[in-house]
Symmetry: C2
Subunit: 232 residues, 2 copies
Amino acid sequence: VAKVTTTDVLIVGAGPVGLFAAFELGLFDMRCHLVDALDRPGGQCTELYADKPIYDVPGWPRILAQDLVDRLMEQIAPFAPGFTFNRMASAIAPRAGGGFRISTDGDDVFDARIVVIAAGGGAFQTFATTGEAPKARSVFHPVRRMEAFRDLTLDDDRIPVDTEKFQTSVAGMFAIGDISFYPGKLRLILCGFHEAALIAQAARRIVAPSERRVFQYTTSSTGLQKKLGVAD
Amino acid sequence: VAKVTTTDVLIVGAGPVGLFAAFELGLFDMRCHLVDALDRPGGQCTELYADKPIYDVPGWPRILAQDLVDRLMEQIAPFAPGFTFNRMASAIAPRAGGGFRISTDGDDVFDARIVVIAAGGGAFQTFATTGEAPKARSVFHPVRRMEAFRDLTLDDDRIPVDTEKFQTSVAGMFAIGDISFYPGKLRLILCGFHEAALIAQAARRIVAPSERRVFQYTTSSTGLQKKLGVAD
């Protein structure tokens, strides 16, 4: 029996970039649910190098990968996104009336207005070449399964996106992080953060097209601070 | 008497985005010098809201603006970039044989292969509308002065760039942070960090065009870790 979860945004992949997407989308009042093949958040950071330091996260001269994940989980907590672990997205289909139904390799099914693919993708190969044996659980590669979605253009396992919205060839489906591709693309966590910020703008236009939007800053906007639970 | 400083990269603006550019450029062995009209690093973070928290720096659920600047200064320290404060870039001219000469409103002159404009630009207006009186020293708007550089295309005080290299209409001159413009542009610090990472790739191709480059990660590359002074 399928267990259907309805959400504004289904994020495929709960690595650092997927997590931060939940923050940016949350700032714009979109409810997010994340699905990941692993049993906990963090993606490659947690699975492949949790105890190793990263030196190029801006503002962090040195941070252990797991600590970055923990900090991101703390940062998105005000928006209370949902999580489904141990499930791999297996198919994505458009729904009549808009949005998507995302199936998994289990009973869980998700209906969402927006899909954000934030899976690590080809970056896994980088680690496989270092001599470490790939762990079956960490091979999280939903793209192969999604070729069933005939309108999605693929380019050598990566998903081409524009650089304005980071949207795929399918309207309402976005791709960020290592699995996305565009001219100049670097597979850096910090680039995925930028991509996450830009999809939030575009996704909001789909979810609430008639809404008048004013761009605000967390430092100065009481409205945003209320959402974050930090307003005076 | 002009005091000429020669460097690989002259970064105009020592705000958070300009500072992080020195990190990314440093990883690729480019010497950087930063010039800023203020008397210390940090740009708007330091001048306008040093003691206010920012909530959307990825991995920092909450960080005071001045603390972010301090962390970035710590992060770029291994590359020992040069700084010239209290000087506003007043003119940029191409040099015979390539590169640029950047003049200031003082005796300081810079010869550089690459120019990165990382000035806050129009973002200042955002603060001016909150009722705070603008401080004369914080109106750092080098673009107006650079119209003398006839090849530089401007768009309403902002500098259009591509999204592959964040290069302006002038080869070798890049623009990042609030002063740059491209479809989807958001004036967020985290977006400037991404822009800084991508210019480093493009700048390196100009400085060392014949060099064979392999993309590496700070977590796994001993070479990068040696540059950062953290290798075992």
